[in-house]
């Protein structure tokens, strides 16, 4: 079994569109949507849900009985989740339990809470695990790890798990790349795209994950595309392809299809080339 994660640093560079195109091209693949607070892959892969599970990933401190308001809980809380009236602010509570531990009156209880829903589904391209994080929940990293675990349980020896990651460099991204065989960073040729790509490549390096890059919409700024290529060359990060800007990407999305299914455009042809190189990169061990 191999695992590939598609990430980007900057949002909206085309992770999901590219992941969906890979779904059209990959053989023996399992798909894991690890962008749990904006799970869009399902809009293209249209999963038929086979199994649904509530995920309990967190807890909240609840003060159900009156207390003397001694303030010890507020003193130890590192997340500013207890106000001057000793009321617990749920959206700020991380569920660590320090308040409950120090409360001399035993007035605080830690209640487990459902933080998301995890689905096992089938799609026209293969099995898919996806999830939905409850609004505002922390523990998105934990949910990502859980989705990946479920995908691994389905995988046989020769299978490939393709993981659609989230933007940024924080907890869900780290959870989506630890232990994978390779990441593909989807970069766009803008000032921000370059900066964000550099940061996310550093994260991959930090955790020792082999990284590759694909430049999306390369023709919106050829100069920045060159800058990305130069940067990658000096860092020894392979650029596996350059994709043109094409509104077939949006049209395919509106049709609920992958770009490969929707049209035989230049974009589709380039996507196929990128996919072949991704397969080689994975086979070479990153």
């Amino acid at each position: 079994m191999k695992q590939l994660t598609v990430i980007s640093g900057k949002g909206g560079t085309g992770k999901t569109t590219i992941t969906a195109a890979f779904a059209s091209l990959a053989k023996n693949a399992i798909f894991a949507d690890c962008d749990c607070d904006a799970p869009d892959l399902q809009l293209i892969l249209k999963p038929e849900v086979l199994e649904k599970e509530e995920y309990i990933g967190s807890a909240t401190a609840i003060r159900e009985v009156d207390c003397s308001k001694c303030g010890k809980c507020r003193e130890v809380c590192r997340f500013d989740a207890i106000d001057e009236e000793m009321r617990i602010i749920e959206t700020k509570c991380e569920g660590c339990g320090a308040c409950a531990f120090v409360c001399p009156e035993g007035a605080i209880e830690m209640k487990k809470r459902v933080t998301g829903t995890v689905y096992r589904s089938r799609t026209r391209f293969g099995p898919m695990i996806h999830a939905e994080l409850r609004i505002g929940e922390e523990a998105s990293g934990k949910l990502v790890s859980h989705v990946r675990k479920k995908a691994q349980e389905l995988a046989n020896d020769g299978d490939l798990i393709i993981i659609d990651g989230s933007p940024g460099i924080g907890c869900p991204v780290i959870a989506s790349i630890t232990g994978v065989d390779a990441v593909l960073v989807v970069a766009e040729p803008t000032v921000t795209g370059l900066y964000d790509m550099e940061r996310v490549l550093k994260v991959a390096e930090h955790f020792g994950i082999p990284a590759s890059v694909c430049i999306n919409k390369h023709d919106i700024n050829e100069e920045k595309t060159k800058e990305i290529e130069t940067f990658c060359r000096t860092r020894g990060v392979p650029v596996l392809g350059k994709l043109p800007y094409d509104d077939v990407a949006t049209k395919a999305m509106i049709n609920g299809q992958t770009v490969i299914e929707y049209s035989n455009s230049e974009l589709s042809r380039e996507l196929k080339k990128v996919w072949e190189k991704v397969e080689l990169f994975l086979r070479a061990g990153g």
Binding site: D37, I169, G170, C171, N221
Partner: protein, 280 residues
């Protein structure tokens, strides 16, 4: 007056809106709370200076005192400590720095050391006072850095806050306790899907909100139809214009080259004030 600019989907134009709104209004504060990928800086002439480091805590286990009882591992909400019959190990990338393990260790074997997880930088671009948080690469936890940036907001000023994408804890930490939230989206199925999650988030937080449609014309009308049905005002539509996209790619705020948009952003602010008065 704190106005957050947020979006469920990434790359819809939060930073574009936040920067162009700040530059159009002039005498305001601009806070970049997308501390994982702080991008406002690329659109402003700035001399950034470090003003603060943001720290979390990490447990340090004294192997001499530790009797491997496993109490710390049992209590840790994030499984950041693993105790085997041979030794206790801390996994820093899982630790949230809550301090419970140190407090609870029956042997008093756990102390804490501070670790830097990010920094706050300040700069000035014309009349705009700018702050940004920068999460240290490899650190998972952005909310403490976000909260530290938000503390720079002055009550008597208009403060525009650029939020991270998504609807999870970083977005909530940014949008909570603001006076208004602009939700930027694009008229595509992904844009609409993620907008619906964002609407639920702002409703749960009780923050008044409205929508800006960016790249108008690129997809279909479902975002507009949805907003009309739900009674959510659309404050502005920014067209899918190659010139705007090219200026963006170079790091140029489009109000600088297309000054007619400045008035539109000033009017946008007036609309927000009117909506807030209605809500009040």
């Amino acid at each position: 007056m704190k106005i957050a600019v947020a979006s469920g989907k990434g790359g819809t134009g939060k930073t574009t809106v936040a920067v162009n709104l700040a530059l159009s209004l002039g005498n305001v504060q601009l806070l970049d709370c997308d501390v994982e990928e702080p991008d406002c800086q690329h659109f402003l002439d700035l001399n950034l200076e470090d003003v603060e480091v943001v720290k979390s805590f990490l447990p340090v286990i004294d192997a001499e005192k530790c009797n491997l009882c496993g109490r710390c591992a049992e209590l840790c909400h994030w499984n950041a400590i693993v105790v085997t019959p041979q030794k206790a190990t801390v996994f820093p990338e899982l630790c949230h720095g809550c301090g419970l393990c140190a407090r609870a260790c029956p042997q008093g074997a756990i102390s804490e050391k501070g670790k830097v997880i990010g920094k706050i930088q300040r700069g000035k671009s014309g009349e705009v006072e700018f702050y940004q948080g920068v999460l240290t690469v490899g650190e998972p936890l952005s909310p403490p850095v976000i909260r530290a940036v938000k503390k720079k907001a002055k009550e008597d000023r208009i403060t525009i806050i650029d939020a991270p994408p998504g609807n999870a804890c970083p977005a909530v930490a940014t949008v909570e306790e603001t006076d208004f939230c602009i939700l930027v989206t694009e008229p595509t199925p992904f844009g609409l899907h993620d907008l619906k999650f964002s609407i639920r988030m702002v409703n749960e937080l009780g923050v008044p909100h409205a929508v800006i449609v960016n790249r108008a014309g690129i997809g279909d009308n479902r975002v507009e139809d949805y907003c009309e049905r739900e009674g959510i005002p659309i404050l502005m539509s920014i067209p899918n214009d190659r010139k705007i996209a090219h200026l963006y790619s170079q790091g140029i705020p489009f109000v600088k080259k297309m000054p007619e948009w400045k008035d539109k952003f000033v009017m946008l602010y007036d609309k927000i004030i009117r909506i807030m008065e209605e809500v009040a």
